[in-house]
Symmetry: C2
Subunit: 374 residues, 2 copies
């Protein structure tokens, strides 16, 4: 008996009689990628070739296809499963086929550890054991470090729990990573001291890490040196295996995942953002909520958040962070929808307040703190 | 004046009166990602906010939207442009919108160097100055190194120019990278010596590199130590910035790019595989040709190949490698379609020959060598 994981696809097929053959072709494509009849090794046929486990009609012309793939194909050593290789075997070549969406995956328990901090760790950092958390973003791209730091200080004085870099901020000459992180960290620490939140509830600043693995490490070291606790990473750009390495090497840092380049129309966002990003070690996952600038449905958002926050034990839950065009007016609706195990992220809508930024941030944080769940 | 690159999108819009606003929203999403009216820095408004350069109807309900993005947003230092950050700014958040395809990009000349070896370097390695090149693949996943090496030896005795690892081969316990590369390199060197091709025309074995950047480097060093010249990488899984680093650190190695996880339905394959992979430094790009297992049209394949092989000077051309279910019977058609600046990759169809593998490979290589272009 070989250990298998189950990849779950949604496949369009207008001809129901063709779905059996299509399912088998996906099983071959995502395992041995060659004609079965050319394989003369019995163990490859029995243990490695993908197996169609089920084909279930789910809508008119759409079938759920469940395929068992050998766990051995994603191991890079007897004990270690590689996350890039997981995506490669789950959806590598099949992502090039327009009729298939990678819908879900069932992995053997313990194959990946997942978040090191998760929801309980982020709550400890914020000093907020029960209520929903709050977050805002440093923008726009193009401002120098001092200007971004001034924004950070005002967000912190407004009591927001986390301030993240816009995911577009990298190490640009107009705002070099080292200068930006030092300036913003100082500003947030200053605000925390001034508002008496240096103990208990303190604002956390999460810089965005970008570049190759060396650069990610260099930046993570600067984050540590600045006395910060949290970072934001972009798994689909940095490469899943590099995120996996970083999470292992920096167990003291909490990781928020950004969905950029997620192209989630082809990998179901409930899976990519809700399950896979936490499995890479993300403690919080940012996603575009329904009703904002992006088109995810309420059901997609509900499932994505549930996947992140309610993983199978013993894995730590990851914090769902709805974002993408949220407004102050929607805070009550969002809280009722997502519940308290969430962090609301409002960026541009707060920045619209301009000179009133601290006051508007206070309105935001108070609205979350005082919300009565409906 | 700020230096800009032009991102070219194809946007679905059933309401022609809405496309102006949609184009502006993409320009904002891919630059400052916040309400314009909240920006009070004049230089950000003039130099950083994306600019809609043109909106051109291209089909019923489909518009080409050209947006100028500041080159400064993708620099990580005064001189260096980061490839991950390029994808982030080109399509990061917009990849989450279902109505947009990233269709093309126009970059300032010299921003990325592109291939180090390109078509001329690969031709030198194969000792084949004019004709189309040939390639096959080591499969299936699951075979031990000795079995893969035996296949490699027979492919080499059949005179194929390049033998690549299946992109699913990583560092699995049943075929550890170091053992596999040593065994296959020895087998290919042995075959080259036996067939008198040790000088002039020699078969090149290209191992597949996988994992995080450290692992990629470790594997690239093993490739060098084994006396090999060429590797295959998966940019969308390894992360573009890591490929960029690797190409810079290993200028002696030729790089073939695999399209796995390209999900090219949302980034036009002509762009992603035909232009961007070479810009990362790929000397050859593998893609699924029309008429095989994947659905790319002849026009897509023609444009993809032309993009790779005919870049703006002074960049080196990258070699188009049509693959994905090719058969011996299609060799003449493929050669007439792609011309001699190509490498034909036939994997599974050769492996079907089983005991006759060397003979079948010889038929393949002879068919290419003797082809008269129609």
């Amino acid at each position: 008996m070989t250990t298998r994981l189950t990849a779950i696809y949604r496949v369009r097929s207008d001809d129901p009689t063709a779905i059996q053959a299509r399912a088998r072709s996906i099983a071959v494509e995502q395992s041995v990628e060659m004609p079965i009849e050319a394989i003369d090794e019995a163990s490859v046929l029995s243990d490695v070739v993908g197996q169609v486990e089920a084909i279930i009609p789910v809508a008119d012309g759409v079938f759920e296809v469940r395929i068992g793939l050998a766990v051995a194909t994603i191991l890079d050593g007897p004990e270690h499963a590689d996350f890039g290789q997981l995506l490669n075997m789950l959806f590598g070549n099949t992502s090039l086929h327009a009729d298939v969406v990678l819908h879900d995956v069932v992995l053997p328990s313990g194959l990946f550890q997942g978040p090191r901090h998760g929801i309980p760790g982020l709550r400890r950092l914020a000093g907020a054991p029960d209520r929903a958390l709050t977050c805002s973003a440093l923008k726009p791209q193009g401002l120098p470090p001092a200007r971004l730091a001034a924004l950070a200080e005002r967000f912190a004085r407004g009591g927001v729990d986390f301030i993240k870099d816009d995911h577009g901020l990298a190490d640009q000459p107009y705002s070099p990573f080292a200068d930006r992180v030092r300036a913003c960290a100082d500003a947030v620490h200053r605000a925390n001291a001034a508002t008496g939140r240096a103990t208990g509830h303190a604002t956390q600043y999460a810089p965005s890490l970008a570049g190759n693995l060396d650069q990610l490490r260099f930046q993570a070291n600067l984050v540590r040196q600045a006395g910060l606790t949290t970072v934001i990473v972009s798994p689909m750009i940095a490469g899943p295996s590099n995120i996996q390495a970083l999470v292992k090497e920096y167990p003291d840092l909490a990781f928020m995942a950004h969905p950029t380049l997620g192209g989630a129309a082809r990998i179901a966002p409930e899976l990519l953002i809700g399950k896979l990003f936490p499995l890479m070690g993300a403690d919080a996952v940012i996603f575009p909520t329904f009703g904002g600038r992006f088109g995810y449905s309420p059901q997609t958002c509900r499932d994505l958040a549930a996947n992140a926050a309610s993983p199978p034990t013993p894995r730590l839950p990851a914090l769902p962070v709805p974002a993408g065009g949220m407004t102050l007016g929607r805070v009550p609706e969002m809280l009722d929808f997502y519940g308290p195990d969430t962090m609301l992220l409002i960026g541009g809508n707060l920045l619209l307040a301009r000179d009133r930024l601290t006051a508007e941030t206070t309105v935001f944080t108070q609205a979350v703190a005082s919300h009565v769940y409906g």
